[in-house]
């Protein structure tokens, strides 16, 4: 029963990782940009939400609803100020520019908020500890909520891309920007919308982090690593791939942590490396997988 519980908690934690990974893999799938500021921006989202709901004296949910449009606007700014100019400079420049952005983001947050660890737990009432009991299993309602949001985001993105007009335009832009432009798609606008959408996902992940865990200005780095690990473990890049990647990561950490608290993160990293190496030596190179990922997203 103990192990069953650990695995169950790992699966629920995996929902958070899948949500965190969604923005990273979406931006990569459409734009071919790996955003090294991804984790820092999620933490930024959590701080924005905190400031908004505390300053206005509204509920955290209200703060979240106001934070998401702010994140979308930041996404547009990110696109025009950093991603678009950096894409002209080759494959390395976006990495360097977004790494610099992460450094700026972390330290600006630190200069404003200091090193204190924050959490929304105190402000969301009983939701932070409510749970369903099945025998000796405890299922947190909040973790289920995060899991459901992750499903909604991943499924919604898939539907958006496959069924809607803007989704078609995003896919066309990802596939062949020149051809898309020739067919009358405003590709700059589409790219801005893509980044805005990715930032909304990042904002949701930040809110989940603040509600179910804690964050501080330098929490961005580890979040980037978790998101990246979930994307790579999941492999296929489809809805289920990212979700499975998140779950595998969550379960690895849960089981590792149950053996020894030091092992929680180590187990996550080790499973990631094993999957990575297995994939490299089994089905060709990882770049081939990433090409597939692009096709599935597009």
């Amino acid at each position: 029963m103990f192990w069953l519980n650990q695995i169950l908690q790992g699966i629920l934690l995996g929902g958070y990782y899948a949500l965190l990974a969604a923005g990273l893999s979406f931006l990569f799938g459409v734009m071919r940009v790996i955003n090294l500021a991804h984790g820092s921006l999620a933490v930024l989202g959590a701080f924005i939400m905190m400031v908004v709901y505390q300053a206005l004296g509204i509920s955290p949910l209200g703060g979240l609803l106001l934070m998401l449009p702010i994140m979308a606007l930041l996404g547009v700014a990110l696109q025009f100020l950093i991603i678009e100019p950096s894409l002209k400079g080759g494959a390395l420049v976006p990495l360097l520019a977004t790494f610099g952005l992460a450094l700026i983001c972390d330290n600006v947050l630190f200069s404003i908020f200091g090193a204190d660890t924050r959490s929304f737990a105190a402000d969301i009432g009983t939701l932070s500890y409510d749970s369903w009991n099945i025998g000796s299993l405890y299922i947190s309602k909040l973790a289920c909520l995060v899991f459901a949001v992750a499903l909604l985001v991943l499924g919604g993105t898939q539907l958006l891309l496959s069924r809607t007009q803007i989704g078609r335009r995003i896919r066309a832009t990802a596939e062949d920007e020149d051809a898309a432009r020739l067919s009358g798609v405003d590709t700059r606008l589409i790219r801005a919308a893509t980044t805005a959408l990715a930032m909304v996902m990042v904002g949701l992940a930040g809110a989940a982090l603040g509600a179910s865990g804690s964050f501080d200005p330098y929490a961005g780095g580890p979040q980037l690593l978790y998101a990246f690990e979930a994307v790579v473990i999941g492999g296929t890049g489809s809805l289920w791939g990212t979700l499975i990647g998140g779950i595998v990561l969550g379960v690895s950490q849960g089981v590792g942590g149950a053996i020894n608290t030091h092992l929680s993160q180590i187990a996550g990293h080790v499973v990631f490396l094993i999957v990575l190496i297995a994939r490299l030596y089994q089905g060709g190179e990882i770049s081939a997988y990433l090409r597939r990922l692009r096709v599935r997203f597009a």
Partner: protein
């Protein structure tokens, strides 16, 4: 226009500058006898920055591999030194072997890490650094996040220790720089500069891209490991969080981008600038780090060739020749360089083999 030309590596200016730089290295050997303790310590720090900058540049500028996990080798070099010193190895030998240990680690992980592409490699290296940091923290002698000290160094008198550490740092820097210089001038170096300019094209003319990258990766790890060992020798204490911190990579990126990525001289200039910036603003704490980040973003977007790359283009400077100059007779060399950097007129008045794309 005449068709006669000659391929030239050394220009009169680069002969003079290389000789001067070599002489400077020897002159620096005397520093502990001449300068105050404070200056000697600062110079040692500068050597660490130079090693970090030139080796990160070797990886990114020539190998086309952006890693945000070089703190892995920095920390592992220091950790290896502590482990070996505890096992009874003489302390400076332990420090040198620690750096070599990082190169060995790099050789092992290169077998799978180098199969990753740009962004995956970048974050993958960071994951690896995080993993090794966690594992090192589990080692009983490190005592978790508390860390430990290189106690063996305490047996030296402070003045002797300072001078020895300085020389160790100087030799490490000069050694790594010389190794890189010779490597870039070898046949392999031509391959690396070809990869820098266009990986696909290099592959298509038979350059062994994977081998060249692997060598750069191991060399970069050796440099970072040596830098970590020198840092340990100056600060004595070792905490996993500090040595495996991603800020080391941030510094490397800053130095390389500001100085000039893909040039030999640029990162050295970047290291000197970083050293000056740190001396002036390091006390500002977070705002200093914000400035470092802003400068990295600014240079990446607005002046990707860096200060040295810009000067090289503008004034046809090349102090340490790792490329070639194709010189047509009867045309002023300086003007040829500037010309060739911007356009490709038929027939080219001059062209550097290492021309950036």
């Amino acid at each position: 226009m005449t068709e006669t030309y000659k391929v030239q590596r050394w220009t009169s200016r680069s002969i003079v500058s290389t000789a001067l730089i070599a002489a400077l290295q020897f002159a620096l050997l005397a520093a502990p006898f001449v300068f105050s303790a404070n200056v000697v310590d600062h110079l040692t720090t500068l050597f660490v920055y130079v090693v970090l900058a030139i080796t990160w540049n070797a990886l990114a500028g020539y190998g086309g591999l952006v890693s945000v996990g070089q703190q892995l080798f920095f920390g592992f070099g220091a950790y290896g030194a502590i482990r070996l010193s505890q096992a009874g190895v003489p302390v400076y030998a332990a420090l040198a072997l620690g750096g070599v240990g990082s190169a060995v680690l790099a050789l092992i992980v290169s077998s799978f890490m180098l199969k990753l592409r740009a962004g995956e490699f970048a974050i993958g290296m960071w994951v690896l650094a995080a993993l090794v940091q966690l594992l090192v923290s589990l080692d009983p002698i490190i005592q978790g996040a508390t860390g430990t000290s290189l106690l063996a160094l305490n047996s030296f008198a402070p003045a002797a220790r300072r001078a020895d550490t300085y020389w160790f740092g100087l030799v490490a820097m000069a050694g790594v720089a010389l190794l890189l210089f010779l490597l870039l001038r070898s046949r392999l170096g031509a391959a690396m500069q070809a990869i820098r300019d266009n990986e696909e094209a290099a592959r298509s003319v038979g350059v062994r891209v994977q081998l060249a990258k692997r060598i750069m990766f191991v060399l970069a790890a050796l440099g970072a490991g040596m830098a970590g060992a020198v840092w340990l020798a100056t600060s004595i204490s070792f905490q996993p969080n500090t040595y495996f911190g991603v800020q080391w990579t941030a510094y490397m990126i800053f130095m390389t981008l500001v100085g000039g990525i893909g040039t030999f001289e640029g990162p050295i200039l970047g290291a000197v600038l970083f050293f000056a910036v740190e001396a002036a603003f390091g006390a500002e704490g977070v705002w200093y780090l914000i400035g470092i980040g802003a400068a990295a973003v600014g240079f990446a977007l607005l002046l990707p060739q860096g200060i040295w790359g810009w000067m090289e283009r503008r004034y046809a400077l090349r102090l340490l020749p790792v490329g070639y100059v194709l010189k047509l007779q009867g045309v002023d060399a300086g003007r040829q360089h500037g010309f060739a950097r911007r356009s490709v007129p038929p027939p080219p008045a001059a062209m550097r083999i290492s021309e950036q794309s």
